[in-house]
Amino acid sequence: MTAVLGISALYHDAAAALVVDGEVVAAIQQERLSRRKNDASLPKDAALACLSLAGLSATDLAAVVFYEDPFARLDRVLLSTLRSFPRAWRQFPHAIRSQIGSKVWVLDNLAFTLGISRNRVSTVAHHQSHAASAFFASAYDEAAVLTIDGVGESDTTGLWMGKGSSLECLGTIEFPHSLGLLYAALTAYLGFEVNEGEFKVMGLAAFGAPKYTQEFSKLIKIREDGSFELSLSYFAFHTDVDLGFNAKLEELLGPRRPRGKPWDLQSSPEDRRYADIAATLQRFTEDAIVALAKAAKRLTSSEFLCMAGGVALNCVANARVVQESGFKNVFVQPAAGDAGGALGAAYLGYIQATGKRPARMRSALLGPSISNDKARNTAAALGLKYTEPSDIFDEVAKLVLDDKIVALARGRVEWGPRALGSRSLLASPKQAEMRDRMNRAVKRREPFRPFAPAVLRSEAHKWFDHWNNDLSPYMTGLAIVKPECRAQIAATTHVDGTARIQTVDEDSSPDLCKLLQVMKQRNEAPIMLNTSLNGNGEPIVCDECDALAFFLSHPIDALVLEDILLQRTSS
């Protein structure tokens, strides 16, 4: 038996992933267990949970692989400190404290935490772990791989060729020229939190028009070879890690939006202007990603493309890549951000140990599951009444068709930021009012945020165009809702007619598949509004306690916790 544990930590989204004899047996983000959003601390809980799911202990591991090289990262931090001298004097103590205080010792700390020999702990390069997380999880024997993020050790973009069990780097783009940092800086400019607000900016973009092309042309240039270049004088990646931009950018685009101010796109011209800026940012980012993808096609002549890195979670851009880059199909692994680095590190460690390619990812349901006993005991101790219907899927379908909001917590937790039917809030997609209710009362988030539809894969063609690709099972792409269908699924049709679709089948999401089949049997469209089971600022629910806490504190109508059903009226 060869078991390899991959770890990502210390920057964003700490995670652990376990590959045993070539199969991913567990992969968990630390935030799901610690309940701390985007928890970046060393993922001790996630690592132990992975081992427990596999019935292993740390001493059974052949290797523990960390997803990036801490020395190379320190090198880049020192370098950018020197390059930005003397402007970075405020950031310098924080940066050094972060590196020398904890990050350079991460491999030692991993060995201590897991109780294993230091010799068994190793590293791989950051973008290499991203590339591995996408390519080896895919079904492609050969593919081009693009990795695009904020920054790893010193690279922000990587172009790779994957063949069998090998992954070869063809070129990189170096810090500070970074699409991820560009998007993050504008996310902060628009008043959102960095590393959380990027999805909001993507949703906001559909409410604006790309009117600021002249201004953005000053910020980023796409070169003929498909690479890009930022005008660094507008940015402050070295000197202001919170904002990432400086006064020159505000002179160009206008004053930044204050953090925490409520949005009013209907009646505020200022907010509509910010939406236009979001739309322009989105357009330029898409153009840059498509240019990179076209370069990948030219250089590799491959039929397939895999993408990873935080920027690969931009599903709007991914849809354009599918349409315009010339690849036959495109795959993005569901945890494309830094959490996915843990999976890539585990894959690379496995290949290093055995020389064999790991098996592809068949499902994203890789986390801990719910215990019926614990669910019953805890619900009873909380004074909550529950039932155990013989056909829970039929009950849920009835509730959804009755315009109720149902939380579903069954089976293993999803890997990645999207809920795929294991920890989901489900509702009818028909009425726009459902979207408003979900945004305002349940998720408590900005009113412009869209919701995604989950649809039976076999029926998707009746409702959507441009859905049939390797992105749709994991909600990493975009479909167009057929114009004649938009009024029928108004809650999951975004203002521009698109939907971040999830196509559902038996393999990818068995419970959601059963639910949608029940809908079909009832002569209803096999589509549901599917959003993640979490409140504002919280990680997605993981276990029984989290789910019951959510039920107690949010105005939803029902909760399915494995085989038990709790309803608001009977609580």
């Binding site: 740390a58 020395f71 020398i100 205080g101 350079v104 030692d108 201590f112 109780g115 230091r118």
Partner: protein
Amino acid sequence: MSNKPSKLSVILFHVATVGRLFRYFISPERIFMIPLLILLLISGILLLVTGGLSYVAPFIYTVF
């Protein structure tokens, strides 16, 4: 899970890491940063004293 490692083994491991760190920086493109690295590692001693506790801790409501 594991027994907490002894302070001595922690120190020995970290010393070995410092050795690896220096070997990494001994390359043509990085060697000029070695004096800087030495200064920073010395400043790391201050970090030993400052590390660990946060001001805003659970169940602690700061007065000032």
